[in-house]
């Protein structure tokens, strides 16, 4: 009964005209960036952050969350039609979705991915609604050591899952932690690393860093490539999947919802992991695994459901613990902090309009998305043909103006441009940028948790290992850290064994 009461309240927030409008704007922009080249959800959320500062906190979050889950819908369209994943999490959709399109079944592929996304998205919101309050009650027991442990684990998992070198993503994280220390130390009031520049006193903001690393750097990198996007030239007809399509997809959709949701909750996890796992599971369960990669509808339905289900799961640690599970969530956390909302276990009680409002807006958003994506698919297909030459000046001017207006300070523009160059160099040297931004948001919270823990324990690090929850979190983190080391050792041993002469 209580839940119904909360839901009623949540929908009254989500359906308020202003919030409904921004929810629509969010999912629309989300679909758009999913379709357009060279802009991901983190970049878009960074780009729109300055706009969100003028809005009430719940409206801002409703819009920015809309971008996050909306992009998952848009990303599948490009995967199916042009074999380029609009989002990293739609990579798996390329495998069978594009093959389906080549066989003239683009319609059902788009259709099943929209329906799967809707079902997965909605199922995960139900999960979020049921699980988050429970988790928040549990988290009331958390003290600084537990929070430190949780953030440590989150960063380790994020490093582990980033593509490319683990060492490099670790360096990225630590650099982010460092950038987070710039500015006035909140405990002692001492200036740190400001080099005497007034603009650095308040620290380096999330907006210029996000815009620089994701917006400017992305544009600079794209300028180098001469990619011509070939849009699949066949008419898309029959978006509604047939009864046979449905029969084949029901299982993958149900399993994808579960897989995506639970993997989305994991710190550092998120949509990509869910999609990959779902694809692997479906292929293993299939009676004809050889059809995968050749246009099996299960290979579209599963991962597309999972990557949307993950969006609901990903909101859980953010809304119940204040710990983001991926970089987009970290940006949302940054927005909440800027709005003066301290997300933690008390969020549900202290800011019910944010918690229930955002959750209910996700129901509304998913309905809007299926309306936007099915009947209007033609519009998105036409947008696929937008030339990058027109798009990139728009991204640039948005970054330049947006970074200025946060504080009406031109040096914020300079900071953004510097991070643009840093991001470009990082891309060239194959350092991932997402961990840096993630750590930048969490750094100050993490430092605080560390210092408070040590103050509490009078300087004994054992505090992290004598409290059961923090012990589990930190040991889990250390074990994950050790996996690549162990596998390297094992790999070398295997190599030595292979090279050794037969006995």
């Amino acid at each position: 009964m209580e839940l119904l009461h909360h839901l009623q309240f949540g929908f009254s927030v989500a359906l308020a005209p202003m919030n409904l409008l921004f929810c629509f704007a969010g999912v629309l922009i989300g679909t758009l960036v999913g379709v357009l080249p060279g802009l991901g959800p983190p970049a878009t959320i960074s780009l729109l952050m300055p706009i969100s500062f003028g809005l009430p906190a719940e409206t801002a979050l409703i819009m920015l969350a809309g971008i996050y889950y909306g992009a998952q819908y848009g990303g599948s369209t490009t995967s199916i039609l042009i074999n380029i994943p609009g989002e990293a999490s739609s990579v798996m959709t390329c495998l069978d979705g594009y093959q389906m399109a080549r066989q003239g079944r683009a319609g059902p592929a788009l259709g099943i991915s929209a329906f799967g996304s809707f079902i997965g998205g909605t199922a995960s919101i139900v999960g979020l609604m049921l699980l988050a309050p429970f988790l928040a009650r549990f988290a009331l027991k958390f003290g600084p050591p537990e929070y430190f442990g949780l953030m440590f684990l989150g960063m380790v998992v994020l490093t582990f899952l980033s593509k490319g070198s683990t060492i490099k993503s670790f360096i990225s994280i630590v650099t982010g932690l460092f950038i987070g220390t710039i500015g006035i130390d909140l405990v002692d009031g001492v200036q740190r690393f400001t080099l005497g520049a007034p603009v650095l006193m308040d620290g380096i903001g999330l907006v210029p860093v996000g815009m620089g690393l994701f917006g400017i750097a992305e544009v600079l990198t794209n300028l180098e490539e001469k990619k011509v996007r070939e849009v699949f030239k066949s008419e898309i007809k029959g978006l509604l999947p047939t009864r046979k399509d449905w029969a084949e997809s029901v299982g993958p959709i149900l399993r994808g919802s579960m897989i995506g949701f639970f993997l989305g909750i994991l710190p550092g996890g998120g949509a990509i992991l869910g999609a990959f796992t779902s694809y692997a599971v479906e292929k293993r369960l299939s009676r004809q695994p050889e059809t995968f990669g050749k246009g099996a509808i299960q290979g579209v339905a599963g991962p597309e459901t999972a990557n949307n289900a993950a969006t609901g799961g990903a909101m859980i640690p953010l809304l119940s613990l204040g710990i983001p599970s991926n970089v987009s969530m970290a940006l949302l956390l940054g927005v909440m902090l800027i709005h003066g909302v301290r997300p933690n276990a008390f969020l549900i009680r202290e800011h019910p309009q944010i918690f229930w409002g955002v959750i209910c807006s996700m129901y509304v958003g998913n309905v809007l998305l299926i309306i936007l994506n099915l009947p209007l698919i033609g519009v998105w297909v036409r947008l696929l043909k937008v030339r990058y030459g027109v798009l990139f000046p728009m991204i640039l001017i948005f970054c330049l103006v947006g970074s200025y207006t946060i504080n009406s300070n031109e040096y914020e523009v300079l900071i953004m441009l510097i991070f643009g160059a840093v991001g470009y160099v990082m891309r060239k040297a194959e350092f991932p940028q997402a961990p840096l931004v993630f750590a930048l948001v969490l750094g100050p919270i993490m430092e605080n948790a560390l210092r408070q823990s040590l103050l509490h324990s009078r300087g004994k690090f054992s505090i992290f290992f004598t409290r059961p929850i923090s012990l589990i979190l930190i040991v889990a983190g250390i074990m994950i850290l050790l996996i690549p080391l162990l596998s390297r050792v094992r790999g070398q041993r295997a190599k030595m064994m292979a090279e050794a002469p037969d006995e």
């Binding site: 300055p50 706009i51 003028g54 060492i167 490099k168 670790f170 360096i171 630590v174 650099t175 932690l177 460092f178 220390t181 130390d185 405990v187 002692d188 001492v190 740190r192 690393f193 400017i216 544009v219 600079l220 300028l223 180098e224 490539e225 030339r387 030459g389 027109v390 990139f392 000046p393 728009m394 640039l396 001017i397 948005f398 330049l400 103006v401 947006g402 200025y404 207006t405 009406s408 031109e410 523009v413 300079l414 441009l417 643009g420 160059a421 470009y424 060239k428 040297a429 194959e430 350092f431 430092e447 560390l450 210092r451 040590l454 103050l455 009078r458 300087g459 004994k460 690090f461």
Partner: protein, 145 residues
């Protein structure tokens, strides 16, 4: 490439360490403002060695940078810097318009007429959105708008 980035990371760590030493590091019992930065610097320096000393397995060559593509990147970045330096003097309307014109004409090779119209529309949209709707205060510059 890896070795160079390793060296850069090493110096970053060393610089942080050097700066952090001037802050009060404190003790484990009462960590000061320099405590966390020192920890970070230590980890960075340690990690940098993994890159400086290459593992025998990774001998992948990074793709060569073509001068032509790099040139384009540098030109665009230069234009962005020029925008930054002229922003206060010229004001957003002019600096933004000039930047858009430059990008459309020089980088995207559009015809002057088309570029002028598109640049005007983009700048006006940005102005309306940020300065009027969001009540931001973009630099007015010589035009006074």
């Amino acid at each position: 490439m890896n070795r160079i980035s390793g060296i850069v990371v090493f110096f970053l760590g060393a610089a942080i360490f050097w700066q952090a030493m001037s802050l009060r590091v404190g003790t484990f019992r009462a960590p000061g403002p320099g405590f966390f930065p020192c920890l970070i610097a230590g980890i960075l320096i340690a990690l940098s060695f993994f890159l400086i000393i290459p593992s025998p397995k990774e001998k992948k060559k990074s793709p060569p940078l073509s001068f032509q593509s790099l040139q384009k990147v540098l030109v665009v970045y230069g234009a962005l810097l020029a925008y930054f330096f002229t922003l206060e003097v010229l004001g957003f309307a002019i600096a933004g318009f000039l930047l858009m014109m430059f990008l459309f004409v020089v980088i995207d090779r559009q015809k002057i007429k088309v570029a002028t119209v598109t640049a005007f529309i983009f700048v006006m949209l940005a102005y309306v959105l940020f300065n009027i709707l969001l009540k931001g205060q973009l630099p007015q510059g010589v035009l006074g708008i």
